[in-house]
Symmetry: C2
C-alpha cells in the first residue's frame, strides 16, 4: 500500500503570516478562552457561530478600499464570489438581519472565532487571528453600553492579567463640535486622524487635519479635547461640559457618557480601571456613540487589548429595521503576546500523573490504576512509550507532569515520584491511589 | 455620517452548505465541546492549533482525485496556491514533521477545529463542519490504540448520550488474507468496497469486488470475515484465529486486536460498548492497523459518530523520520443531529437571573444587585430593554431564564418570580440576593 507511494518529501511549511500553536501555547490560549466564555455566560451572553466564508458582497458591504485589499477572496466551486471573514462584526450584522424573527431582543451574544486578513505580515501581525466579541443588539440606551464594558472589565480582571485601564469616550462629543464648526461632513477623516494621536502626537494630528483641509476652527475645537482630561472623571466631565457649548449632539453624548461612567461605578468596576478620555475616537466608521479602548499597563505599546463601542446602524446594510448595538472585543493574541514579554505564565492547574510499569509494557495494572486516579479528578495517562522507569521519568519531566508512578508487578509495589517536590515513595500497589492523592493534596496546601 | 450611505439593501444570506448557529444550538455545541476537551485533558492530551489555510501542495500531498475536487483552493495575495484544510489529519502530519524537534514523544494532542469541503450540499452534509480529533504520535504498540479508544469511550459516555457501540478491527487481518490469496496489491480497492458493507450488503460487496477483477479466492477469504463474529469477542477472536492461517501479517493484526480488546476491558470500558467487528475496514488509505467506528444505537443510520485508527506512515510525506500514530475523531455535528431526531436536549445548567426596575430604567440598585448575585455564581443580566415589569417577564421567559427580579426603588422592595415553578415573592431590596439564592437552591434539591 505505502511502498507504491513515490518517496519524494514535501517540505513541511506554513504560509507566511500563519501560525501553529504548540501544546503549551495552545493550552494557555484555551484556558484564557474558557475563562472569557465563562465570564460572558455569567452575564447572560450566549454564543453564536457564523461561517468562515461569506458571499463577497456581504463582506464588502461597507466598501472601504482597505477591506477590498485585505479580503481573501476567490471563486468557489459554483463560481460564486466568496471571501473569508475579516472580522466578526459584519457577519453579526448579516446574522441579525437574516434571523431577526428567531431572535430575542435585546440580544446578548458572543462570538469567538478566527478571522483572516491579507495584511503584510510583520512582528505581532498575522494573517489569521482570533477575535472574542460580545454584543448587545436592540438596546439603544447607555445601560447596554455600561453592561458590555462592565462585563469586559470582569473578563479581563478574571484572566489574572496585570493592571489595565479602559478608556471611554462618546463620539457624539466630537461629532457635535465638528458640526458647530461647520465640519460635520468630515467626521470620518477627523476620527481617523485622531485615532493616530498616540502614534503621531498632537502636533502630528494637527498637521494631518490641516493637510486634509479641515477648517482651523474645527481643528482648534477638536484638539482642545486632548487637554480636557481632568485629575479624575468628574473633573473631566466638568471640562467637557464647558466645551460642548451649543451642540445638542455633543450634549447628548456627554450625558450618555456620564450615565455610563456612573453605572460602571455602581457595578463595582474599580475607579482606577476606567477613565474618561476625550481623545479616544476609534478609526472605524460604524461607531455612533460610546467608544472605548483598553491600555494594558505592563505593556502599553502593544495597542488596545479590549476595544469597542456603540454602532446604531450596522445592520442597515442588510435590513430596513434598525438594530442599535454595542459591542466589545478582547484581543487575545495581543494579550498572550504581552504575557510573553512580561514572562507571565497562564495557570493551567494541570496536575498530570504518568503511570507505567518497570518493564515499560502497559499492563492491566497500569490502565486500572490510571482509570481509578482519573475517577478522582486527576489528569492521568498510561505511559505508552515502551521505555523502563528512567525513560518514563524523563518523559514525565519533559511533559511537565506532577507525578510519575512506576508499577513493579513482581513486587506488587509502585514507586511514586513527586517531580515538583523531588520526593520519592514506594508503596504497595493497592495503596497507589491513596498515596498519589495525598501527595497532590499536601503540596496544594 | 450614515445618512450619506446609499440605502440599497444587500439581501442577508449565507453560502449554500454553510450554517449559522443560533444561541441555543451554539450553546449546546459549546457545552459538548467543553466536556470533550475536559475528557481529553483528563487523559493528558493537550490542544494544538493549525491554520485554516495551507499551501495547496501540502493538502494535496496524498493526491486523490476526490481531495482535489473537494478542496477550496485559490491564489492568495502573493499568488501562492493555497487551500482551506479539508481535515485535521494532514495538518497534524505537517505539524509533526515541521516541529518534531520541539515536541515530546509519544505526543498526545487534540485538535478541535473547522474544516471545509466543497461537497454537494445535501441533508446532513455541509461544506463547513467541525472535527474533534485526538492522536498519539510516536508510539507503535497496541497500548496507544487502547488508550485512544478508551479515552474516546470516556468522552462519549460523559456527553450523556444514548447507548453506543465502538466496533474495532485490525486492517492487517484483511491485508494478510489478501496477501495469502495473492491479491495484496488490491488492498485499497477491497477496503473501500468493504467499507460500503452496511450500505450495499454482502452481495453488493461481492459483486463490487468481482467487478474490480478481484480473484475469487480473495473474495471468498474476505467475505468469510463478515460471518466471523461470534456471540462475544472471545468467540470472534477464536473464529478469526482459524481464518488467519499461515499469514504472519494477519496473525500480527489479530494479536494486536486481542491486546487492545483486553486493555479496554482492564480500563473499565463496559463489555457492551465495544465489539470486535471483522467487517470494519475504513475507506481511508492511510490506516495500517487498528481501525474503529462507532454506532450510535438510538440513530444507527446517521453513520459513525466516532472513528479512527492507526496510521504508521502519515508523516512520511513530509519527513524521512517515521512517526507511527493512532487517532480518533468525534463527529460532533452528527451527534447533535441525532439528538435533534431523538428530541434529546443538552443540559446547559444555566440558571439565568434577569434583574430590572419597575420603570424599566437600569438604576444603581439594578447593577449592584446583578453584580452581587453574579458573585454568588449565578448567571445574571441587567435588563437593558427599557420596558416595565411585564415586558421584563416576557423577555425572561423567551430567554429561558430561571428568575426575573424587578426592583421597586420607591417601595425599597423587589418582586421575584421563579419562572420554572411559577412562584412569586416580594421581599425587601436588602433581601434580594438571599431570596434568589434560596429559590435556586430549593428547586435544585
Amino acid at each position: 500500500l505505502n511502498e507504491s507511494r513515490d518517496t519524494e518529501i514535501i517540505t513541511p511549511r506554513r504560509l507566511k503570516g500563519f501560525r501553529d500553536a504548540l501544546p503549551d501555547d495552545a493550552l494557555a490560549r484555551e484556558v484564557l478562552l474558557r475563562r472569557i466564555r465563562a465570564t460572558f455566560e455569567s452575564f447572560g451572553f450566549r454564543p453564536i457561530t457564523t461561517p468562515a466564508l461569506e458571499h463577497a458582497e456581504i463582506l464588502r458591504g461597507k466598501g472601504s478600499d482597505e477591506t477590498d485589499r485585505l479580503l481573501f477572496e476567490f471563486r468557489d466551486h459554483g463560481d460564486r464570489a466568496v471571501g473569508m471573514r475579516f472580522d466578526l462584526t459584519v457577519p453579526l450584522a448579516r446574522f441579525v438581519a437574516e434571523h431577526q424573527g428567531d431572535l430575542t431582543f435585546p440580544l446578548r451574544v458572543y462570538q469567538i472565532g478566527t478571522v483572516w486578513r491579507g495584511e503584510r505580515p510583520q512582528r505581532g501581525r498575522y494573517r489569521e487571528f482570533m477575535q472574542c466579541d460580545a454584543d448587545i443588539v436592540g438596546a439603544p440606551g447607555p445601560s447596554a453600553d455600561a453592561e458590555v464594558i462592565s462585563m469586559m472589565h470582569a473578563a479581563l480582571a478574571d484572566l489574572a492579567v496585570g493592571e489595565f485601564r479602559i478608556r471611554i469616550n462618546d463620539r457624539r462629543i466630537l461629532n457635535g463640535l465638528l458640526e458647530l464648526a461647520g465640519a460635520g461632513g468630515r467626521a470620518t477623516e477627523v476620527m481617523r486622524a485622531i485615532d493616530k494621536l498616540e502614534k503621531i502626537g498632537e502636533e502630528g494630528v494637527r498637521a494631518e487635519l490641516a493637510s486634509l483641509d479641515v477648517d482651523a476652527d474645527a481643528i482648534s475645537r477638536v484638539t482642545k479635547l486632548f487637554t480636557a482630561s481632568g485629575s479624575n472623571d468628574v473633573a473631566t466631565i466638568d471640562n467637557l461640559e464647558s466645551e460642548v457649548g451649543a451642540s445638542d449632539t455633543a450634549r447628548a453624548g456627554l450625558e450618555s457618557l456620564r450615565t455610563v461612567r456612573a453605572l460602571l461605578g455602581d457595578a463595582g468596576v474599580p475607579d482606577g480601571r476606567v477613565q474618561i478620555d476625550p481623545s479616544i475616537a476609534r478609526g472605524l466608521d460604524y461607531y455612533t456613540g460610546t467608544v472605548f479602548e483598553t491600555t494594558y499597563l505592563p505593556a502599553p505599546d502593544i495597542g488596545s487589548v479590549m476595544s469597542g463601542g456603540r454602532y446604531d446602524h450596522l445592520a442597515r446594510l442588510f435590513t430596513k429595521s434598525e438594530y442599535p448595538g454595542v459591542g466589545g472585543s478582547i484581543g487575545i493574541d495581543r494579550l498572550l503576546g504581552a504575557f510573553e514579554v512580561e514572562g507571565r505564565t497562564v495557570e493551567t492547574d494541570a496536575q498530570l500523573v504518568v503511570v507505567g510499569s518497570v518493564s515499560g509494557a502497559v499492563t492491566a495494572d497500569v490502565v486500572r490504576a490510571a482509570a481509578e486516579l482519573r475517577a478522582h479528578g486527576l489528569a492521568v495517562e498510561s505511559f505508552v512509550g515502551d521505555k523502563p522507569a528512567k525513560g518514563q521519568r524523563r518523559y514525565a519531566e519533559r511533559r511537565g507532569a506532577r507525578i510519575v508512578a512506576t508499577i513493579d508487578p513482581e513486587q506488587d509495589s509502585v514507586e511514586i515520584i513527586d517531580l515538583k517536590r523531588s520526593q520519592r515513595e514506594r508503596v504497595a500497589l493497592g495503596e497507589l491511589v491513596e498515596a498519589v492523592r495525598r501527595m497532590v493534596a499536601e503540596s496544594a496546601s
